[in-house]
């Protein structure tokens, strides 16, 4: 579909949108520890928003590993 950089930027956009933070504040290492709003309910909201945005479906195993921007991009790369 597209390069790792493109995917990273798109995910960054979705995350910034949902956690209401600046795009610049979302780094590759950003995770549930560093973003206060990233709780378990918001994790699902994020994952489902990504599904809609990328037109993919994650299985529960994947959902549970998507714990940082880097991890999310890795899962998405595996699907494209």
């Amino acid at each position: 579909m597209s390069s790792a950089d493109d995917i990273t930027e798109r995910v960054r956009g979705v995350m910034a949108d949902l956690f209401q933070v600046d795009r610049a504040a979302v780094g590759l290492e950003s995770s549930r520890e560093t973003i206060p709003d990233w709780d378990s309910a918001n994790h699902l909201t994020l994952v489902l928003a990504l599904e809609e945005d990328f037109g993919v479906t994650f299985d529960v195993g994947e959902i549970e590993t998507m714990l940082s921007l880097q991890d999310i991009v890795a899962v998405l790369l595996g699907k494209t």
Binding site: A41, L44, L48, A49, E52, D53, I63
Partner: protein, 643 residues
Amino acid sequence: MTEAATKRAPASPGARGLREAVTSAVGNGSLWQAVQAARLLLEADSGAGTLRFLSRLVQGTPQTKLALREVRVGLLSSFSIEFARDALVALGLASGLRIEIYQAPFGSFRQEILDSASGLYAFAPHAVVLAVESGAWLPMDAPQGASADALLAEVASLAAKFRARSSAALLCHNIPLPRWPAPTVAVDAPSLDDLSFVTACNAGLRMLAAESADFYVVDYAALVNRVGHDRWFDDRMRLYARAPVAQANYAVLAREYVKFARGLVGLTRKCLVVDLDNTLWGGILGEDGIDGVRLGADYPGSAFVEFQHFLARLQARGVILAIASKNNPGDVEQMFSQHPFMVLKAESFSSRQVGWQPKSESLMAIARDLNIGLEHIVFVDDSTFECEHVREALPEVTVIQLPAEPADYVSAISRDGWFDALSLSSEDRRRGELYKQRDLAESIRSTASNLEDFYRQLGMEITIAPVNDASRKRTAQLTQKTNQFNVTTRRYTEAEIERIQSDPLWTVCTVAVRDKFGDNGIVGVILAVERGDALEIDTLLLSCRVIGRTVETAMLACLCDVARRRGCSKIVGSILPTDKNAPVRDLFRRHGFQDRGSNATSAGAWELALSRGAIAYPPWFRLEISEVLTPASNEGQHRSVQR
């Protein structure tokens, strides 16, 4: 255009600009600009990011900054409903509401209702959603094909316990058909038939709603049906996170709740103003002529015929129709009277503004004509220019721009349910007709040489009676939606009315008015309470369709009688000023009440000592006053006086 499939375009340039527009309107405290900008943003992008953005914006804006109408909603559910929260607050903003949410942990709906010390009751909700799946109503070990009666008994019992503790509206989900119904080939075993079970449950819930005050059915089955089972549900999330509804559909569900919230605070829209060219028919009447416009048995004319039928059904439900069109009045008259496929007649429209003036002026004329607020008007037009113009000039008006495809017109108007009322009274069904009668009355007014002659010519008959089972719904409805001639604008639910009615200190009555043009039905409400030697006016309101006919004087005369009967020496009242109630502001002053000089909004700021002379019924009314509302000396005789 399907609502669940709206493509998510996070932070697209358009959506970014629209977000800035909302933020800036909120920053300026411009209520209707903010509401309208939120609506436009949601039309452009209703993804999770937008919903979160709007929801945070509302939560971060104090009530003093933006005068949204507050509605407190309790969410009780058998599944994770928190995914609906952002959508509920965001869509509330787009309707002029500040929705505050109390959410109980899923599955705790019984405890929340049964425990009078629960968080739900402490939250003091205006409305409580009962989003419970059929499986959660019945015990886990219920036999397969458990009877609908068992489920209904459970719902009724919980609803009764709730009602004993709260007068909030209860919004109960009905039950969707199962996605994979059990095989029903064995037609001789109806107890095992999923479909009959669901049908019986939903019919029973409707019955319960009809019999109980402020119990409403959220037609969840219809939502699932419209979106489709396969797209509505997400089995993976149901099992993993107890979130059975696919993410995008939580907004569809929230929109349904918002309709109820609008109804509770009187923001249900009352009037639909339509354009004519490319709206009621295809093409331009002035250019294509009667024979050239598209309206008939074949597409695209068939789409316009269907749209007209849809408008006729709205009218039958009590929505007032009006026209704002740039056209030659003669052409339009001819179209209405001669085109064989016109479903609507010129008389279907209670106000017709056909000419070359700007549409904003037409809309203001319609609002004046019908005596309704701009915020109760929905304006529909195919032209981007006209829609933009009206949004800009009259932000209170709800503007719907029609899609290019005429076959989608009905969906475009139905989607947000702007006209979905909590209940339909017989007055609603006749409203269009009543407004027409009012127009006739206006024309008499312009010929009557003076006001008293006008009142006499109207031949008015006024009936004042205690609220009864038949009039309670209408009474609550009037308190919920009357904004202009309303001294305190206190909103009451049916359950609350029923409660104060049972208190002997309260007088709770309705006012109905007939005149030579017809029966206006119940148009006024009086709620008053005896406090010591004073009779305090809690609520005194009059529908705008009978403002300016001295009905209010008759209502105050009635209160004087009630005060005497109760042995009170004075009547006290207050005006709580709102944006809308200018017409009622001088009510007490012009009826001889003394300003006690205290804080103008405090209870009993105005006082009328009965020793100084009571207010008399104006002589032009024929009176039908229930005897319990007359002075004790008249007891035993029904007062029916022709003066």
